[in-house]
Subunit: 428 residues, 2 copies
């Protein structure tokens, strides 16, 4: 039986999961691939560090060249992260004819197209299922299962940290600050949570999903991102009262040939399948013209779930090696990128306004919407408990984003409006 020699770069959470699966399922994997998959070398930062993993110490190296430049490595499994230096190493590996499996969303969101081109040039595979939504096989779904469909809409809960925070805030009526601290204590949020809570991590994943789903190179810079750090418990409470759950949502939409991709907190109607995706779980909702509504749900992170996706990719690479067809199944983004302008992006919106509590205010405010031809689905006015002002919650009908921006500018200039507290997209 042929032996396929793996160079594993990174032995953190995901890397140790990969070692564990390869150890535990050697027989099953051999049967599926007709090959023995063997970890030949492992890149670590510190060879001497004590590790709770069954791996002969002579496999460890602190020098990346021992893997990317080594003649006795067939496949590089990159689970160490990083962008600039990692990109250089991956290119070197590909040029040396090594196939790549990576879990690195930053790398793929920023340099995916370049790396895919180098891979194809050298007849190499580069697979990255684990880079988006951990254990959920969404990349394979987009590239293979829906290959015959035209995907027009993808909504993703693709960041577990923020979904944990919002779920807790919703369930317990707790504040953002308190729940963030709890998430940090539990290890669900980093000490510096910026990348998660400001939607940057989700934006990278949405760039990857949009590129695959729409078959055009959507760059990270094309994705507008807004996070959850200004979400208050009032927002969530009022949303719930009207039948919505607030979720940090990646939204990728196609209208004709043009697309728009964004990440923002959005009010998701409770009957929508995404509304009940709770805690650190992820889900991606995909709408295709032919298939209709589908959703893929599962763990978005974690050692073993992410490692499952890595090893599934590894199995695909090894099968391709045996069939000698590597580099031929790469999904190409062959469509010209066209981004949608704001006046063609449509949606419903939720607004929470702090206003003066006096006669005629509601008339003035609704007049501002009417002026810009934004019609309203529901309006709720109530006195605010904590200060003398009143609150107005408005949900619009479908309107375009530029019209909505004009309404907001107008509201902002009105004396009776003390504060535009929140504006969220509404989904479902």
């Amino acid at each position: 039986m042929e032996t396929i020699r793996i160079g594993l770069m990174g032995l953190g959470t995901v890397g140790s999961g990969v070692v564990r699966i390869l150890n535990d399922h050697q027989d099953d994997l051999s049967r599926q691939t007709g090959s023995r998959i063997e970890i030949r070398r492992v890149l670590v930062q510190d060879k001497e560090k004590a590790r709770d993993i069954a791996l002969p110490s002579e496999l460890l190296t602190q020098n990346a060249e021992d893997i990317v430049g080594a003649p006795d490595i067939d496949v590089v499994v990159e689970v160490m992260g990083g962008v600039v230096q990692t990109k250089g190493l991956m290119e070197k590996a590909l040029r040396g004819g090594k196939h790549i499996v990576t879990a690195n969303k930053d790398l793929m969101a920023l340099h995916g197209a370049e790396l895919l081109a180098v891979a194809q040039e050298h007849g190499c595979d580069i697979f990255y299922e684990a880079s988006v939504a951990g254990g959920i096989p969404i990349i394979r779904a987009l590239t293979e299962s829906f290959s015959s469909d035209r995907i027009t809409r993808m909504f993703g809960i693709v960041n577990g940290t923020t979904n944990f925070i919002l779920t807790k805030m919703s369930g317990e009526g707790a504040s953002y600050e308190d729940v963030l601290k709890e998430a940090q204590a539990l290890g669900y949020a980093e000490a510096d949570p910026t990348s998660d809570v400001e939607g940057l991590d989700a934006a990278r994943k949405m760039a990857i999903l949009a590129t695959l789903g729409f078959r055009m190179n959507v760059a990270l810079g094309d994705v507008s991102a807004k996070g959850i750090s200004s979400v208050t418990k009032e927002d969530i409470l009022y949303g719930k009262r009207l039948g919505y759950e607030l979720k940090l949502l990646g939204v990728a939409e196609r209208d004709g040939d043009s697309v728009s991709v964004s990440v923002q907190p959005a009010m998701v109607r409770k009957s929508h399948p995404l509304a009940s995706v709770n805690g650190v779980y992820n889900a991606v909702y995909v709408y295709g013209e032919a298939v209709g509504e589908t959703m893929f749900y599962g763990p978005g992170a974690g050692s073993m779930p992410t490692a499952t996706s890595v090893v599934a990719d590894l199995v695909a690479v090894v099968k391709n090696m045996r069939l000698k067809v590597n580099g031929q199944g790469l999904s190409k983004a062959y469509k010209e990128k066209k981004l949608q302008s704001d006046d063609r992006i449509f949606g419903k919106f939720f607004l929470l306004l702090h206003v003066e509590d006096k006669a005629g205010v509601l008339a003035q405010i609704t007049q501002a919407f009417a002026k810009h031809e934004v019609s309203l689905e529901s309006v709720l006015q109530q006195p605010n408990q904590e200060n003398p002002k009143a609150e107005i919650i408005i949900i619009t009908h479908d309107t375009n984003l530029s019209g909505m921006k004009r309404v907001i500018d107008e509201l902002d200039s009105m004396d009776v409006v003390n504060k535009i507290k929140s504006v969220y997209r509404v989904v479902g």
Copy 2:
């Protein structure tokens, strides 16, 4: 550009969807496969029948031999249904070197192993994503995405007709008979609904899923099936009151080397992702040791969703043809089949009993559970409105199926128990 010649067998709901997708997405498909996919011949029952589909009439034939025996057909797309005769035709096609894409769950549940063997012998592909859960790519998930994991549990809502009926009964408090009539009027249920409502259709799909997920040949006869025709609105009402939704659930479980597969109405806890799968939608929940909880949700039937899966398979076949690797990726059920005995099948159970309304009844009944070491999670006794008897609703803790059967026999023999109205598995 190479032309791949398709013989389409069947031009009903799914067949016309396939024609539509191939017509609408010819360019996209060519780009993905590097080939032109051309429908060369179409098998129909009546050539003269008026059809609302853009297809030259000279492509139509009433003779299956014109497809399975024709030298100018590369791939057979079988969407006509049937078992015995269809199996013979598929074998002939495979022996002639034709690849097969089929949506036929009956055929695959009954003869999948044989057909896969013939396909492999002749270097042919046989793909059948559309046979289970229409537009949901669950087969690809099991065979590729979770190839490196050990799946221990699959729960499936895999029959849209029964899910529509149960959803309506739950939402409107309507009776089974009334909703069945409505489903028939809407075309969601057949004039003879037996196959759907008695769980036979779901059993076929679960046999296919279990075979793939557990990698052992689970035959249709190995799947115990119970349907929903005896479900009453009281069952659903009492379930809801305790926090459950009643669903017709396919259950495939592995314990060590042994498996059990069944279809039955089950009480699904409302917080479980399957509980909110409503209407004609399908969903499959998969638990893998490494990946943990995942769920795949989407349309379980319908012309375009099912056709999407068919054409995705067709794209895979065509790619394999270009790479000359057909027949090599077939998923093999290489594990010896071992079925679990009842005393090793564990679960929680919901019971609804009609009992005499007199002192000491509850003590006698709970004593019957204690005797067989089945412990109880919750007990609810209430007077029954419609007759002089009382009702007792019991939910057990985890217990084995044989212990549960002994309890039921004992309850059945007790004078104070007028009727064991319902027994359902509890999930979640």
